[in-house]
Chain length 156, copies 2
């Protein structure tokens, strides 16, 4: 077998763009339905939940999630107003603040993440057999690595 043809590449690209769109849509719907929260905001809560001390500086959130710092600022304001997060000054940086996950925020993560795994993650990965899943793990890691090194793909 030779290299995949141009038609193959076109089909693969189309599937990739479509999968991206559909997965984003599914995640968005699910988090809105089960947590009345956007998937973008939810990703911030998950990051805080996994952090030691449940707190991360706004700058770190932006870097990790590749969100713009402005987006983080707006998002944290909303999350704070909803009582899911608290802003706290942190000494050390020039003007560093960190977001701290509240008890309500932890509950929110729990409310959303269970259904997300059951209804989206598990069926999706379940569509692949063990071999495909292993292959996909390797491939997804390569794709992320390539996307991360692309100029302009990071924080603006």
């Amino acid at each position: 077998m030779g290299a995949p043809s141009d038609r193959d590449r076109t089909a693969i690209w189309r599937d990739l763009v479509m999968a991206t769109h559909l997965l984003d849509t599914a995640l968005e719907r699910q988090s809105q339905r089960d947590g009345q929260i956007s998937h973008g905001h939810f990703k911030i809560l998950v990051l805080l939940a996994e952090a030691p001390g449940r707190a991360v500086s706004l700058k770190s959130i932006a870097d990790t999630l590749r969100f713009s710092i402005s987006r983080i600022s707006h998002a944290v304001s909303v999350l704070e107003r909803e009582g899911l997060v608290e802003r706290r000054a942190v000494q050390g940086g020039r003007r560093a603040f960190e977001a701290l996950l509240t008890a309500d925020g932890r509950d929110k993560v729990r409310d959303v993440i269970g259904p997300q795994r059951r209804e989206i993650r598990d069926p999706l990965l379940g569509a692949l057999d063990d071999d495909d899943l292993r292959d996909f793990g390797r491939i997804a890691a390569r794709l992320v690595a390539q996307l991360e090194e692309q100029p302009g793909a990071g924080t603006p």
Copy 2:
């Protein structure tokens, strides 16, 4: 080798969500930069460009791209105002309209799609060797199929 572990699945899921986010971001930036148009609007233009007669009914656009019909209506209004598309009544349906790609619309597609292939698609698929690319083609098709059959993943 047995089945991938839970930790493996978690890592794969994380990479998948991250790849989705990064690819979406890259496509959005690129279409804005090279065409002053959102990637969502651009996908509509591409669909029209590939259609026979360069015209597709609003309903068909919504079904094909899995966009809400309301989103299509808003989007076509904007695209029409910019002269990239024309609305045209079509007899047959109850109240069917179709969007028709204009010459300017065709130019816009050309302006955007070249750089998109060069700067995003080709480097991304280029990160995979021939075997991985073939595997990925099979896997991406399965993922799309699973996402499409998921209840609630389609048009609201």
